[in-house]
């Protein structure tokens, strides 16, 4: 419970050592709980079916059955699911970053009629829970004939107040003198956003992009509602369909879950620092 730098602390070396061991013991115990389900998933996904139900539980399969992955892959159109998720998440991320940057740029650098009112209204939409919009959006997409299309999976998520808010905050920290200088050099307003502001704002683009991509990749309720064929199902919805059809075969189910989780987990290891810092920043803002 003490946050003061260690050299301020009284106490002998053994006492400090004991304290450090205690802290690590607690944190490690927590880490084991965090990781155990993933380990269990991997372990089950590589077991022979007969070994799944052995008692006591065996964590390390006696034989690694990699063919579970091949079997799972062949049982359902996973290639299509993956393609759909990758395509939808990428398109949503690019589109949403572009739309948000444009709006944030206006809020941060332009002086216009109704700026504060519009911004407050934008923030107000964050109060609206997603399930509020399920029925109306479904009806709208039905009327547009967009059910079971990529449009349904992408277009409603191209506007994000959260991204606009974060980008605006960042844009506001870039000195105005830079704009004046760029203007003298013949830079247009859009050119300034594209060539000066965007490159300078890489961290915030990365943060917003990661949020959007992971959110889109992991989305479940909305894709579940607006897709109804394998042609359009994303990996998460495909996985749930797979569970309904193969729910009694844990080896295949775990192999499929591993496939659905892995891309995000692997990607996360590369960008975890920026991502976690991004989250930490949103907490401090409020």
């Amino acid at each position: 419970m003490n946050h003061v730098r260690t050299h301020h602390r009284p106490g002998t070396l053994p006492a400090r050592l004991l304290r450090s061991v205690g802290i690590h013991a607690l944190l490690l115990a927590g880490a084991v709980i965090m990781l155990a389900p993933f380990a269990w998933m991997l372990s089950t996904s590589l077991k022979d079916y007969s070994e799944v139900f052995t008692v006591p539980i065996r964590w390390i399969p006696s034989r690694l059955v990699w063919s579970n992955y091949v079997d799972a892959w062949n049982e359902a159109p996973f290639a299509r699911y993956f393609f759909n998720s990758a395509f939808v998440a990428t398109a949503t991320t690019i589109g949403q970053l572009a739309f948000s940057a444009l709006a944030a740029y206006a809020f941060a650098t332009m002086n216009f009629f109704g700026r504060e009112v519009i911004f407050t209204l934008f923030l107000g939409t964050m109060m609206i829970p997603d399930q509020m919009t399920l029925v109306p959006n479904y009806v709208l997409l039905f009327k547009l004939n967009w059910i079971d299309t990529y449009y349904a999976l992408i277009v409603p998520w191209l506007g994000s107040v959260f991204s606009i808010f974060l980008m605006r905050q960042f844009f506001q920290t870039i000195p105005k003198e830079l704009y004046d200088a760029a203007q003298i050099d013949g830079c247009t307003r859009f050119g300034y956003l594209w060539r000066v502001m965007a490159p300078l704002s890489r961290p915030v683009f990365i943060t917003c992009g990661l949020f959007t991509f992971i959110g889109s990749w992991n989305a479940f309720l909305w894709p579940l509602i607006v897709t109804n064929t394998d042609r359009m199902r994303t990996i998460q919805v495909g996985l749930s369909t797979f569970m309904q059809e193969h729910g009694t075969v844990p080896t295949l189910l775990m192999a499929a879950s591993t496939m659905a989780i892995m891309p995000v987990v692997i990607g996360f290891f590369f960008v975890q620092r920026q991502f976690i810092q991004g989250i930490a920043r949103t907490g401090l803002k409020s």
Binding site: R5, T44, L158, A280
Partner: protein
């Protein structure tokens, strides 16, 4: 002459302002169009739909006024789903927050391996809820081959049928949700802790404060804006629980895990009663809204800002 000049200046300034307003609206247009069509207008459209008896396909929906809302109050399943959701929120939020605060405090002790721990605790946050629910579905397997039962058996405790038992199903979903959401709260608490200036601690130490009293009188009050933020976000998020329930229990057994959003999904997208589902969405919206206001009023007033 001077008056003329200022007038000309004024006119020029106004022209510039108008031009800039026009430009700004162009930049705002794409995002605003999406937000208005898919987030803002639906609030009003949902209210209109909530006054209808409609399956979304029929061209002439019947206008029923407030009948859907009246039916909602009579619907014992809705009341059950509300109570279950409250059970879920109360079971998840305080436990998760307390555990996350503890982990964040431990991580804030200038320890080695901070980044590693943080990544590990954060891992469940970035994985899809429906996918990890499948893992937990097997952890909660009702016989000895389930991970949890195997563990209990090793400790010599009786095994349970978990998700098949109306008494245990909700605690199971709560436990999984705490596991999944913990890392997010840890990261925010840790940022909040690191944001507290060390001067406060140094001053308190000079005054002879130690351990618990430092936490009680320095950390806790100065962390309160963060705590409040986490509380609001967690309550709003927990009210919307869906994927875990959909994958693990479908609201059962005996409706013991029937939560509001799952019920809404069932009514709207399995039974296609769009009017009734909209009325439910509105009720949920109002509940979350009122709860947030109450929290702001009663807890927000105790928040200390540095």
């Amino acid at each position: 002459m001077l008056a003329h000049k200022t007038q000309a200046n004024d006119a020029a300034r106004r022209r510039r302002y108008l031009k800039e307003t026009f430009t700004a609206y162009l930049y705002l247009l794409p995002a605003t169009a999406v937000l208005v069509i898919f987030h803002f207008a639906p609030v009003f459209y949902a209210f209109y739909v909530s006054l209808l008896d409609w399956n979304y396909i029929s061209p002439n929906p019947a206008f029923v006024g407030i009948a859907n809302y009246a039916a909602l109050l009579q619907d014992s399943d809705f009341v059950t789903s509300l109570l279950n959701t409250v059970y879920y929120v109360v079971g998840t939020v305080p436990t998760s927050m307390a555990a996350a605060l503890l982990v964040a405090i431990l991580l804030n002790q200038k320890i080695r391996g901070l980044a590693w721990y943080r990544t590990v605790y954060f891992l469940p946050v970035i994985t899809a809820a429906n996918a990890v629910a499948i893992i937990w579905f097997w952890i909660y397997h009702p016989d000895y081959s389930g991970l949890l039962n195997g563990f209990l058996d090793k400790l010599g405790l009786p095994i349970q049928s978990w998700l098949l038992d109306p008494k245990w199903a909700m605690p199971c979903i709560i436990l999984m949700s705490i596991w999944k959401g913990l890392g997010y709260n840890v990261v925010i608490f840790l940022a909040g802790l690191q944001n507290i200036s060390t001067e406060y601690y140094e001053a308190a130490q000079i005054d002879g404060a130690r351990g618990w009293s430092i936490f009680r009188h320095i950390t806790w009050p100065l962390l309160s804006p963060t705590t409040f933020f986490v509380l609001i976000i967690s309550v709003i998020g927990s009210f919307q629980v869906f994927s875990q329930v959909y994958v693990m229990t479908r609201g059962g057994p005996l409706k013991s895990t029937l939560v509001v959003v799952y019920y809404l999904y069932k009514i709207g997208f399995e039974d296609f009663k769009m009017g009734y589902a909209s009325a439910m969405a509105y009720a949920l919206f109002v509940i979350i809204f009122v709860l947030t206001l109450l929290q702001r009023k009663y807890i927000g007033s105790r928040v200390h800002y540095q």
